[in-house]
């Protein structure tokens, strides 16, 4: 095989590689650009105002104690998420996750609507892996005991 053919073959391989890499990079970039979801606190969300209406975002914060309202029959869950300075009303369809409690950290995936409500499609609990003794108040044990007592009666 002549060196000319060899050289041309090499050039062809090089060009093909560049094209493949370029196309792949472009696809990756496009995919990332469209599918990156921003993580915002209530303060950041409200500061962005109309710019984040109807865009998928993740809202993170604490569930304001006492704000949880759940209609079991309609599977309609409403609560407030707060970062200490600002508060956002959240509405979610479906049952709250089992680990959902007042005052705990949550991440709500969904869209902020122009009526000022955050419509969540996916609720994630930020559960710490550090072990803590249950706080006084409604502990699982107490809940459990209530249930046992109520069922016996």
């Amino acid at each position: 095989m002549s060196s000319n053919v060899e050289g041309r073959r090499r050039a062809a391989v090089l060009v093909a590689t560049v094209i493949v890499l370029g196309a792949f990079g472009y696809l990756l970039y496009g995919g990332l650009d469209k599918n990156v979801v921003f993580f915002l606190t209530p303060q950041e969300l409200l500061a962005k105002g109309t710019a984040v209406y109807d865009v998928p975002v993740r809202l993170g914060g604490m569930v304001t104690p006492g704000s949880v309202k759940w209609d079991a029959d309609k599977l309609d869950l409403r609560f407030q998420v707060s970062d200490g300075t600002q508060t956002v009303e959240v509405r979610s369809k479906g049952a709250p996750p089992q680990m959902f409690r007042d005052g705990m950290g949550v991440v709500c995936e969904g869209k902020f609507r122009s009526n000022g409500t955050f419509e969540s499609t996916n609720l994630m609990i930020k559960h710490s892996e550090e072990y803590r003794a249950p706080k006084p108040g409604e502990t699982p044990q107490q809940m459990y005991k209530t249930l046992m007592k109520d069922m016996r009666s």
């Binding site: 995919g31 599918n35 029959d73 479906g94 049952a95 705990m104 249950p134 809940m143």
Partner: protein, 687 residues
Amino acid sequence: MTRLIGYNALWVALATAVFGLVAIPLGVRRGRGGLIQASYAATFAMFWLTTAAVFAMIFGLVTHDFSIGYVAQVGSRATPLFYTIISLWGALEGSILFWAWVLTLLSALVVFWNRDREGALIPYTTMTMLAVSFFFFILLVGPANPFTLVSPTPLDGPGPNPLLQNHILMGVHPPLLYLGYVGMTVPFAFAIGAMASGEVEKDDWIKLSRRWTLGAWGFLSAAIIAGMWWSYEVLGWGGYWAWDPVENASFMPWLTATAFLHSVMVQERRGMLRLWNLNLIVSTFALTILGTFLTRSGVLSSVHAFGEGPIGAYFLVAIGITLIVSFAGVAGNSDALKSTGRLDGVASRETVFLLNNLLFTAFTFTVLIGTLFPIIAEAARGVKVSVGEPFFNKMTLPICASLLFLMGVGPALPWKRATKEDLKRQMIPPAVGAVIAAIVSIGFGARDVYAVLTFAFAAFALVANVREYASGVRARMRLRSETAVTALGKLVGANRRRYGGYVAHMGMVCVAVAIAASSTFRSEHEATLTKGASMPVGRFQVRLNQVYGREEVQRSRIAANVSIMQGGEEIGRLDPAMNFYPTSETPIPTPAVRSRPWGDIYVNLMAFKPDGSSATLKVIVEPLVPWIWFGGGIVCLGAIISMSTMPGRRRAPVWSAASVAAEGMTTPPLPTGATGLLATTSLEGAD
């Protein structure tokens, strides 16, 4: 006492590793066989010392010795014995200890099976294993020391993370993953050993490490499937894969290792891709360390991230050293790494392997970018972002579909060059299968283009791989007049690697079809039911019978008893529950699953009224899910068949009694002692 034994064993093990790291290069340079032999002995000693440390830890866990830091962190008197023992890998320090143990076991086995081999390859391979072990011992005596002293000694501990003691698969998934992850160190060590010893020209390192790579790959496959299963059975969302960073961390080395298993055949057959293969195996190892960094450093939050600590920096340094050493080795050996063969025809098995490797590499990059992007974005621009499932699905589904297709093309094409007749003869039957599968799936209501493609290409690959068997069996039956069964047995026996590979292909087809079907034909319904009421899901009805509570030793349990009804008749009962652990403020969901060959009915208890009068249930009907686990088993079976070839058989003379034992694989004394370890955790035995 136990604490001191464990801690000191780790220090001495560290010292043996250092000894080996010094003695091996000295021994090789000066031609002193005695030093090499001494380092081999040090490798065995390192294994036994780590074993002692693991024993001490298990003994401490079982005897509730809360003066040991790790026991105080994960132990509790109320935890059942099984979960107490497996909490060995339930948190950071213990998992690093277990990792080190597996690593020293593999190092000892590598030395044991290859110690009579001449040349510098095995010494340098051992040295690489020792260097990696050294790194883990540094972690164990430093930032991840499991044997810290707790004073005053607490009376009881919190017990393992509730999520990790809620399902038996926790006893299965982590050891499999460690064997797979750590197993990838062995081919990496052989690659480094080959480069350091200048033996990279001969492809011996590939032959010697082949079964190790296959074994590690099999364990990693099994671990990924077991992890999916665990997530499905425990986390309560009815899915098994979410492109979570920890899943990606285990998946990336699997992708590069799979690419390696294929491309290495091109090197053996055709003398091409030498450089590429070295890079693949180095990447695989680097990705295992990266995966450990991601899951253990606290940069990500997940069930695998055990809180923050300085350990992340150590892993970053390890990745850096790995890459620098490897690329220096590759650069220093560039002359020896030239291809000796070349591509003859476009339509050939080599081409398919090349495409396969391109796709696997692209796949790995996609997952890598998607996993690291949030970390990079936060570091570079201070914004918190997440890369969701849509990105991964959009990018990887076309790759998956193409890989399925190639899985059918590759086995059917000959090496070097396929003629037009070859193509016609080999491609038409699978293509017919693909068209039929596409039509059938559309008939069943599949509309998603990738779902239809998956079914079509799965059928294509299945037909092609089955035909490989069929034609081989037919040829044997004709030529040697064997029965179909003997012919099949002998066919596989004569070329286990090849036919084992086809078995793994069929397992993958099974997994692909089950994943596509369970996500395409899934139906889900969530509702609050009062006692006696029912709701429809797919072709079933689910009726709530009762909500009840039960006190167990280590936890309380609230469960709902539901009946699954079909056509007015009860076909089964399930008890989805929430488990309340004393250490957790919130309950752990415990879904109940009814598995049948056609698919699963998955019921999760979401909420309940404290008086027990009603409960909110989420019910998901997912077709074919059990076939994911079954297919995973077939993939592993394929790996086992492939690696069951004895490399020793073709080796020439047998020198000593020891190598006879190793060659015949008659249970050498070392692994027996090692595998029996975890089983013998009785108190007397460990004292």
